[in-house]
């Protein structure tokens, strides 16, 4: 009996953990940028399930490379640090904001002007692949 309970608990956990499409991405936007230059993507990610998730990587055909970076301010000095992942707490959320965590687009394949839209593919540990339509917002 104990084993059956254990088994069903783990099935339940696996079911929760692998559930896709549970994350909500709101207000994803990017700064304008020039071909060959860089830009940054910001968004809010909500995780309504009781299991922590992690944003592992992102990719897009608008940029050669896409990295997760965090800006840290020490007094007046800003330092950027590439991140291995972004944790999205269970029953919580994370905000990617100017001056904080952001998804960096490196080597833009084309100009991004205010109003332009593009697709960003996000890979999460639990939610899997999620695509988001990113709006470029000026100035």
């Amino acid at each position: 009996m104990k084993n059956i309970i254990k088994a069903s608990v783990s099935i339940l956990l696996v079911a929760c953990a692998s559930e896709t499409g549970t994350l909500t991405i709101s207000d994803p936007w990017a700064r304008p940028g020039q071909a060959g230059g860089n830009s940054a993507v910001y968004m809010t990610i909500q995780n309504p399930i009781p299991v922590e998730d992690r944003l592992l990587s992102a990719s897009s055909d608008v940029a050669e490379d896409v990295e997760i970076h965090e800006t840290a301010m020490t007094g007046d000095v800003m330092q950027m640090a590439p991140q291995d992942h972004v944790s999205i707490p269970a029953n919580g959320g994370v905000e990617l904001l100017p001056g904080g965590m952001h998804i960096m687009l490196i080597g833009l394949e084309r100009d991004l002007a205010a109003g332009d839209e593009f697709t960003l593919t996000l890979e999460f540990e639990n939610a899997g692949i999620v695509t988001a339509l990113i709006k470029t917002r000026g100035p």
Binding site: N38, A40, T71, D76, Q79, I106
Partner: protein, 203 residues
């Protein structure tokens, strides 16, 4: 006991005088940015503009100069500040011609004249991006207290990152370093100070 009264009254008068003085000083000192007291002559420099020609800080005498240091590969803090300054430039309205934004690189190796000039112009056609050799830039960075450090350790497709200070400097029309602002200062505060400085607001 009665003998003490003149002392108490004197003390109260002194406090009142101090309070009045404080009010007067803070009224005269109504600027919201951090003030250089007394203002010091802003370090004058020649740097390279987009057409490869020399740009002289002294040529902007008579105007307010907003001076910011950054680099074009910077995806977060620099564009956030420049985007705020471009909104500020719109809000300056008829004062726009009295204000010049200069964006000086901390990454001359990658920021060639055309690159930083185009980058700055993308935020506002009036913004001027400046670069130069490391020998030209080092005294400028030092004079304005700009910290910069090349980080080659972090794994990034950029090759290297540059940590740098993010203060915005305001040079008055007389060429003095007058005010500075930390990152994230609301542009309303900067606009207020420019108006005050150009006597658009009562002191």
């Amino acid at each position: 006991m009665e003998k003490k009264f003149p002392w108490v009254a004197g003390g109260i008068l002194l406090l009142l005088a101090l309070a009045a003085g404080f009010v007067l000083v803070s009224r005269r000192d109504g600027y919201l940015g951090l003030r250089y007291e007394p203002p010091v002559p802003a370090y004058d420099f020649f740097l390279t503009g987009g057409d490869g020609g020399q740009v002289h800080l002294g040529d902007f005498r008579g105007r307010v100069v907003l001076l910011f240091f950054g680099y074009t590969s910077c995806p977060d803090i620099c564009p956030t500040t420049l985007a705020e300054l471009s909104l500020l430039a719109d809000e300056l309205d008829r004062l726009a011609l009295s204000v010049q934004v200069l964006y000086v690189t901390v990454d001359p190796q990658r920021d060639l004249p055309d690159k930083i000039a185009t980058y700055a112009r993308a935020f506002d056609p009036s913004f001027i991006g400046l670069t130069g050799s490391e020998e030209m830039l080092t005294p400028v960075w030092q004079s304005y207290g700009v910290y910069r450090s090349i980080d080659t350790e972090s794994p990034t497709a950029l090759g290297y990152l540059v940590s740098h200070s993010t203060r915005l400097y305001l040079i008055d029309p007389q060429g003095n370093l007058f005010l500075s602002y930390t990152y994230g200062t609301p542009r309303e505060d900067i606009l207020h100070d420019i108006r005050l400085l150009l006597r658009e607001l009562p002191e």
